[in-house]
């Protein structure tokens, strides 16, 4: 296809992506270097019949003018990245130089908001992805043995947890896990502990969020693996059986290698999606015990009186860097494959 025609065909797509994906990334980088204006304070004298007193308050008019003049705020360099709410360089330094052992260091670092969010995000990514894939694979193997007529309805119900709006899905589960919901109440009576609440302890909250993640991510792996199972060469399976391989060995040495490329694809997509985990934290109102990088950005942006654009932007830049690190192996491999093909 000639360059000109190509350009005409792809122009609207590219324009949309440049305007609303590339430019926002640049805008985030610029914003992350600024902080919101400090409050302009004025002292006014309030005189009442009983005397005069001085009062300091925020000059809203002056603030307004300042914001209109320089909407980005004050230039702050890298201060946003280094402060307590982000990389917390000073705090980390203090903790490392003065601590009572390894456990103390970890728990104090874990108390810094950014590192808390980062650790939960990574945990969610690397626990949910493999477990959801294992669940999906198991369901795919099981569904594959069903008679034809049963497959349709079973696939229908299996798709539901994936297709559901993430916020809605997490709300549904959170109501069930509520102490007066069906699962929460059953757990209380099973363990005989009437005070048991999934919100109360951080560990429980984390487990519930991970369970939600596996529940909602499993079906995607299931569908892909199920489709892959249909393409496993029957001859190889048959000859493996004739050579005396048992069922497990056939699965291990014929089916799994056949599905390996699919598994890489699923893992990549799931890691990308799980890294932005956000809705479940809102849905389960879990922010007291578990936060994620996306949630930190959201929290800065919905701030009641002032939106902390600078702070949100620097978390965003760090998150984007995280995504690139996560994608790096894939990108490197593609680059190498491409060069080999070209050579």
């Amino acid at each position: 296809m000639p360059h000109r025609t190509f350009l005409v065909f792809i122009a609207p797509s590219i324009l949309a992506m440049v305007l609303f994906i590339t430019l926002p990334i640049l805008s985030v980088i610029v914003q992350s270097l600024f902080v919101q204006h400090e409050a302009v304070l004025i002292t006014v004298e309030n005189c009442t019949p009983f005397g005069c007193e001085k009062e300091t308050r925020v000059d809203h008019a002056a603030m307004q003018a300042l914001r209109e003049e320089r909407p980005l705020g004050q230039f702050a360099g890298f201060a946003n990245y280094l402060n307590r709410n982000h990389l917390a360089v000073d705090e980390i330094g203090a903790i490392l130089s003065n601590n009572q052992g390894f456990g103390d260091t970890l728990s104090r670092i874990f108390n810094l908001p950014f590192y808390r969010a980062l650790s939960f995000t990574l945990l969610y990514c690397f626990v949910v992805t493999p477990l959801a894939m294992a669940l999906g694979f198991a369901v795919a193997l099981a569904v594959n043995t069903l008679p034809r007529l049963m497959k349709g309805p079973v696939i229908f119900f299996s798709l539901l947890p994936m297709i559901i709006t993430p916020l809605v899905g997490s709300l549904i589960l959170s109501w069930m896990f509520n102490p007066s919901g069906i699962l929460g109440a059953s757990l209380q009576s099973l363990t005989g502990d009437p005070g048991l609440s999934l919100r109360a302890s951080p560990i429980m909250t984390w487990i519930v969020l991970l369970v939600y993640g596996i529940w909602t991510n499993g079906p995607f792996s299931f569908v892909v693996f199920y489709a892959g199972l249909q393409t496993v060469p029957q001859d190889t399976m048959e000859s493996a059986r004739i050579d005396g391989a048992n069922r497990w060995e056939v699965t291990r040495f014929v089916i799994i290698p056949h599905l390996a490329p699919l598994a890489t694809f699923v893992a990549l997509v799931q890691l990308m999606d799980n890294f932005r985990v956000f809705e479940p934290i809102v849905g389960f109102s879990a922010e007291a015990n578990a936060t994620s990088l996306s949630w930190l950005v959201f929290n800065d942006l919905v701030g009641q009186d002032a939106q902390l654009f600078g702070s949100a932007a620097s978390t965003s830049v760090i998150t984007i860097a995280g995504v690139l690190i996560l994608l790096a192996p894939v990108l490197l491999r593609t680059w190498r494959d491409f060069n080999r093909k070209a050579a």
């Binding site: 296809m1 792809i10 992506m17 509520n178 007066s180 059953s186 489709a227 950005v297 959201f298 949100a312």
Partner: protein, 293 residues
Amino acid sequence: MTDIANRRPLALKTLTTVFLVIWLIAAAFPFVWTVWGSFKVEADFFSRQSWWMAIEGTRTQAQTGSAFTLQGYEGAWIKNEFWKAAINTMIVTLSVTIISLTIGTLGGYALARSGYRYAFWILIAALVFRAMPHITLVSGYMLPFFELNIWGVLPTTIIVLVAINQPFTLWMLHSFFLSIPKDLDESAMVDGCTRFQAFRMVIMPVMWPGVITTGLFSFLLGYNDFAVTSMLLSQQNQTMVPKIASFLGSIQNEGNVMFAVAAVVSATVPLFILVLFFQRQIVSGLTAGAVKG
């Protein structure tokens, strides 16, 4: 494979069946339970005594005189104007789907037919864009949109969602176009069609299955989005998902959780219908990306 080789021992058969039943309960029961509970009063659905009350509807019977009540739906749809949010959702999702597909088919076709290096790099860039968490992009939009005074309205949100959706749409349509032989459009062009005519009159008619599948996923993205719609829409323009989220803040305290439950069920119904009718397309779409990509 012959049936004898495929015959499974009883133990394995039982194990698979039990596993599948447990999975199906895990997958479907939350929905069944919530739909059932949405017709009860709060004292039943969130019963402090026993969840059996939610099944029998003891309190619902006492409070309303019948075992089922529409109070939750009435409160959500009429009192809290959920219908407005439903209309907004319809506008947003339909526009997102149509615009995404229009510009996506053009772009995907070009990517599939161009043999040059840059087509490959555009696809890789799209992959990176696809991985960007939506909320990080949103924090880039907010300030410029405030400054340009286009924050809070539906068209802005639609365009943003189209753009966010574009990388995925391009990838998917590109792989569908690759499966259509090149000879088809080339022979049309030999017969005197321009490139666009070949695309419009020869390729598009055989592309419908791919377009419908991709459209389903664009629809789902627009419908399920929370990050973009909750940040970029003003209160009166809210779509269903941010509206449900705002219920949580304002209603939970007043003891009207059931409004949120009813709203959640209402928002789920269209998705059920979608899966019911397009199950095969959804499955084939997920697979197409995997097997070819």
